[in-house]
Subunit: 221 residues, 2 copies
Amino acid sequence: MSERAPETTNGGTEQRLLEAAGEIFAEHGYRNATVRQICEKAKANLAAINYHFGDKDGLYLAVLRHLNKVRSERNPINKGLSSQATAEQKLRAFISALLHRILDEDSPDWHMKLCSREMIEPTRALDTMVEESVRPLERELESIVRELLGPAADNQRVRLSALSIVGQCVFYHHCRSIISRLFPREKYGSPESIDILVEHVTRFSLAALGNMAKQNKPKAR
Amino acid sequence: MSERAPETTNGGTEQRLLEAAGEIFAEHGYRNATVRQICEKAKANLAAINYHFGDKDGLYLAVLRHLNKVRSERNPINKGLSSQATAEQKLRAFISALLHRILDEDSPDWHMKLCSREMIEPTRALDTMVEESVRPLERELESIVRELLGPAADNQRVRLSALSIVGQCVFYHHCRSIISRLFPREKYGSPESIDILVEHVTRFSLAALGNMAKQNKPKAR
């Protein structure tokens, strides 16, 4: 950061580079994308990348952070919750935020394409993103699930139940090409259907956790 | 199929072509892979592809069918079930088959890589595969879920509940790069952990369906 800002740098260059890089990385993958392509698309020069992001690695990580920031600011996981919210209300809000983040149609196409690429061919940036963004969400969900399962539930059950909830949601992203072919009229995964999905995943998960909590309770002698 | 079998064709050529094509398609994607690359890898000539598969499209569809055949023969969904099996037993067997198919470590790497590619950038072959292979599985699962939810459940609830079950399973494939970073010691998704996952997904799903069935029952007056 001791370098002088190149002349092309202005308020918009960093933003333009992030958007251009996101599209190029999503299209060609981290390894095949070149900074030259990104500069051309952003109408910026190499010095601007170096100044703002250090190198290609730094730019890539900045793109993932940017993407995550946009999506999580638009759909915070505690949206509309009061401080006295019950665990049931917290679970519904969590599922709603997750499904909205995944199925947000207003986001540029490259967002989810880049996420999919990172799932199949992870880069080093994924280690950072998991610690910064995924682990806090996982902890939050585990604490809600623990409350719903009750004190008798062991850590493994809490963790696997949290994963069962996330799995039901992210399915509508990863398997959308199959779901849309299986049920072309249902439009599962479309923005109009988000409310239906939030209601269903919440109901299915609360039913599971409630029943398991009951099974866990020590029987009265 | 009126063409004469080319001289290189023998019992093993078709098989070699399927395996070579699977690897090349998984590596480069359907669009970028060339039949020349596949011929070189399989040590076969273009006439052999034409004879056995018609063209690149035909070869690609044959690869997907081959992959599906191998995985479903190894893990049939009614494995070990008697004709008097209960819906609970059928659900467990279904979940077990699905998780084993997804997490089968003895399958070549290209199997799941090719499936992932097809999810992100579907080809026309996916339409065929969904009708031939996915829809029958979905119908089977819906019929098990319908039995467990009882007659009061509507079609949408049955369908979404079936998707909730599949979502919990395929999650361990699609999100394995995140899961392995979140819980490096747990080895979720590894073959050793399959039994734990089968037990958990079955228990979570049965708890959900059982509780929802109870909520659906008309109350006695």
